[in-house]
Amino acid sequence: MSQTQGAYYVPHGSPWPIVGSVSLTLIVLGGVNLIQSKGDSGLILFGLGAIVLTVMLFGWFGAVINESIAGSYNEQVDRSFRISMAWFIFSEVMFFAAFFGTLFYARVLSVPWLGGEGDGAWTNALLWPGFESIWPSNGPENVGGAFDTIGAWGIPAINTAILLTSGVTITWAHHALKADKRLQLIVGLAATVALGFYFLYLQVAEYIHAYQDLNLTLNSGIFGSTFFMLTGFHGFHVTLGALMLTIILLRCIRGHFSSNDHFAFEAVAWYWHFVDVVWLGLFVVVYWI
């Protein structure tokens, strides 16, 4: 089903994209039904979509891996992959930028305005007299009730250390790969995966603590909204990154990649560093200051 067109590889038809579209549609239909609590149909559709998506990912990436092993890709194809991954990460940066922007807007503008600053004097006097602008805030109507926040120097600081360490271990693994030291590669990568999942474990523990002991929930006004949106989407990306690292680890154990041909490894490493940098931003503006 494929042909090498000159030296630039042009695949000759693929069933996987349409399978991907069907899976996304099933996930969306199931997702809406789940959100709106319309019985079991949501769960069934969503689960079915997730299964089809998994099949698609294995099928599509499997095809790409086989072509790569068969030597279909030249340097130019490799460069296309690199350019694409870099721009994909840029799109992710912009996705997080929307939520960081929301946090800054709330802290610098909307909450102070509700407290009477700037043009907000009449809003404050007529709608919510007595509301004082402070951060963290759940708004003038104390939405969700009183809550406590999570201090920066407990779990978040430990998580920062974990992610920074994982950045070191993956770099170690990368150097080992380039030097053909397979054992070091596997140990470094396994350490990265372990650190990634340990981060997630601590993050879940932190969420449970927030919900059970601190009354800090999604309903806790703008603080709860931005806190869980930013940390939640970050955690989701760590999950994806850790899963991708796991796949790469399994491939390394199977003997994939060579010292000069390992784009997939590098792409996941870039992604992991991106997730790491987002966390540093989170640690500073969500937990610390």
């Binding site: 996705f95 709330a106 503008l109 759940n138 708004g139 949106m229």
Partner: protein, 525 residues
């Protein structure tokens, strides 16, 4: 740049039947699907527009309920922006970028397929809301909170996920275009030799990757506010409905350039061909597009002058906005200068391109008026705004797309279109579109609000005229459909060059081009 490519013997096992389209990896097939999809959406969105114009034919409520009218204005906007104009420009990029830069195909052909095949599913989700309880989205294509959060029907969740899917499609398509342009150019095709259409798409793709994720963030926050009790757009919890507008327009303003920059590119290809002169000021054209793209990120709140921003903010956004007139002026000047003392002929693509230059400039000038904050407080949410963005999007983007279709149709099909019918289509469209949109300037300045199914009798005459123009313009597009079908089915065979004054790699290939456009990369001087 391309490494040297040796041509191996082709072993075609071309897919046939439905597999050719559903499993497609060929840039021309995928481009064709994009173009047909966008034309279908153009007719659907146009049908919604005709419902609007029929209701506004005379004052009073005649044909539809106000809520259904709101569904029509909302879906007309969403379908035309995301379903018609954007996919049409992507379709042209798919077809023309590899031909123009001397590439065998797009950089990532399978992802190219996925970019397209998400769209039919996404729009099926969106349109299916018409048949659900609560009806289709009725809060305007800008879906401001709290209309889209607190007061919207449950079908809005389908709209939200539909937008997510369109975002995936746009981002993947844009990544592909950037990778193709940066990595698959023929030897010698340096960046400053790229045809302007390729340049405009390179910059458009950058804009898309930068702002579609922000739109995804906006609708995700909507989803959370609607279903999970967050307070992003709710002042009671410390959020702000105005925040929605900021996030939306941070996407929305670059979005309008996403629709118009490829149109600039198409017109910049056509005018030199029929003026038989090279494009005047090529480098300044490139820099102007880049400048417009940069400015598009720092002017968004000029859509929100009436919302109650601090005065310093209004002044900043006003000055920044009016700055856009400078690079845009450079472009209009260069198009006119290209025609100056050229050996001009007026085939249909050229007619549409010239109409584009004149009518887009009218839309640009009304945009300048709207960019002035104190004046905008009068024009805000009136038909003057409607007139403005329809001049830039219909007589701007859509006219450029029609120009591009006539220009490249012989290359795509191998046959010349019917020139006489093309000219008839041009004149009917150009006259009727002005009858449709020009009176909206007057009704708007007189104070007629947009998105309203009924209006005061003083606006009756202008609305009557607009509706007549709207129906003529709408039905004249069926002639366009007929002309395209006729050219596909046969006619005078097209030469490789097609147009006497055409320059560029795409004209060195046969019409239609071979299956894998450039199997051996051409040498560019």
């Amino acid at each position: 740049m391309s490494t040297a490519i040796t041509h191996e013997e082709e072993h075609h096992e071309d897919l046939t039947g439905w597999r050719r389209w559903v499993f497609a990896t060929n840039h021309k097939d995928i481009g064709t699907m994009y173009l047909w999809f966008s034309f279908a959406m153009f007719l659907l969105g146009g049908a919604f527009a005709l419902v609007i114009r029929a209701e506004l034919f005379v004052p009073g409520l005649q044909l539809v309920e106000p809520d259904f009218f709101n569904q029509m204005t909302t879906m007309h906007g969403l379908i035309m922006v995301f379903g018609a104009v954007m996919p049409a420009t992507v379709g042209m990029a798919n077809w023309m970028v590899p031909l123009m830069i001397g590439a065998p195909d797009m950089a990532l052909p399978r992802m190219n397929n996925w970019s397209f095949w998400i769209l039919p599913f996404a729009f099926s989700l969106l349109v299916s809301t018409f048949f659900m309880e609560g009806g289709a989205p009725a809060f305007g294509w800008t879906f401001y909170a709290p209309l889209s959060t607190t007061f919207a029907p449950s079908t809005t969740d389908f709209f939200i996920f539909g937008v997510h899917l369109m975002g995936f499609s746009s981002i993947m398509g844009s990544i592909n275009i950037i990778a193709t342009i940066l990595n698959l150019r023929a030897p010698g095709m340096t960046l400053m030799k790229l045809p302007l259409f390729v340049w405009t798409w390179l910059i458009t793709a950058f804009l898309l990757i930068a702002v579609m994720p922000v739109l995804a963030g906006a609708v995700t926050m909507m989803l959370m506010d609607r279903n999970f009790g967050t307070s992003f757009f709710d002042a009671a919890g410390g959020g702000d409905p105005v925040l929605f507008q900021h996030v939306f327009w941070f996407f929305g303003h670059p979005e309008v350039y996403i629709m118009i920059l490829p149109a600039f590119g198409i017109v910049s290809q056509i005018i030199p061909t029929f003026a038989r002169k090279p494009l005047f000021g090529y480098a300044s054209m490139v820099y102007a597009v880049a400048a417009i793209a940069f400015l598009s990120f720092i002017v968004w709140a000029h859509h929100m002058f009436a919302v109650g921003m601090p005065v310093a903010g209004e002044l900043y956004f006003m000055y920044a906005t009016t700055l856009i007139a400078i690079p845009t002026g450079v472009k209009v000047f260069n198009w006119v200068a290209t025609m100056w003392r050229g050996a001009m002929t007026f085939e249909t693509p050229m007619l549409f391109a010239i109409a584009f230059v004149v009518l887009f400039t009218i839309g640009g000038l009304s945009g300048l008026m709207l960019g002035v904050a104190p004046a905008d407080k009068q024009y805000h949410d009136t038909y003057f705004v409607v007139a403005h963005f329809h001049y830039v999007l219909v007589t701007g983007a859509v006219f450029a797309l029609m120009a591009g279709t006539y220009y490249w149709l012989p290359k795509w099909t191998g046959y010349m279109y019917d020139e006489r019918l093309g000219k008839i289509h041009f004149w009917i469209s150009t006259i009727s579109v002005n009858v449709l949109f020009f009176p909206m300037h007057f009704s708007g300045l007189a104070g007629m609000p947009r998105r309203i199914p009924d209006y005061a009798v003083q606006f009756a005459d202008w609305n009557f005229l607009s509706s007549v123009g709207g129906f003529v313009f709408g039905f004249s597009q069926l002639l366009f459909f007929y002309i395209v079908i006729k050219a596909i089915r046969g006619g005078e065979p097209a030469t490789n060059r097609v147009w006497e004054g055409a320059e560029g790699l795409e004209w060195t290939l046969s019409s239609p081009p071979p299956h894998h456009s450039f199997t051996v990369p051409p040498e560019v001087r």
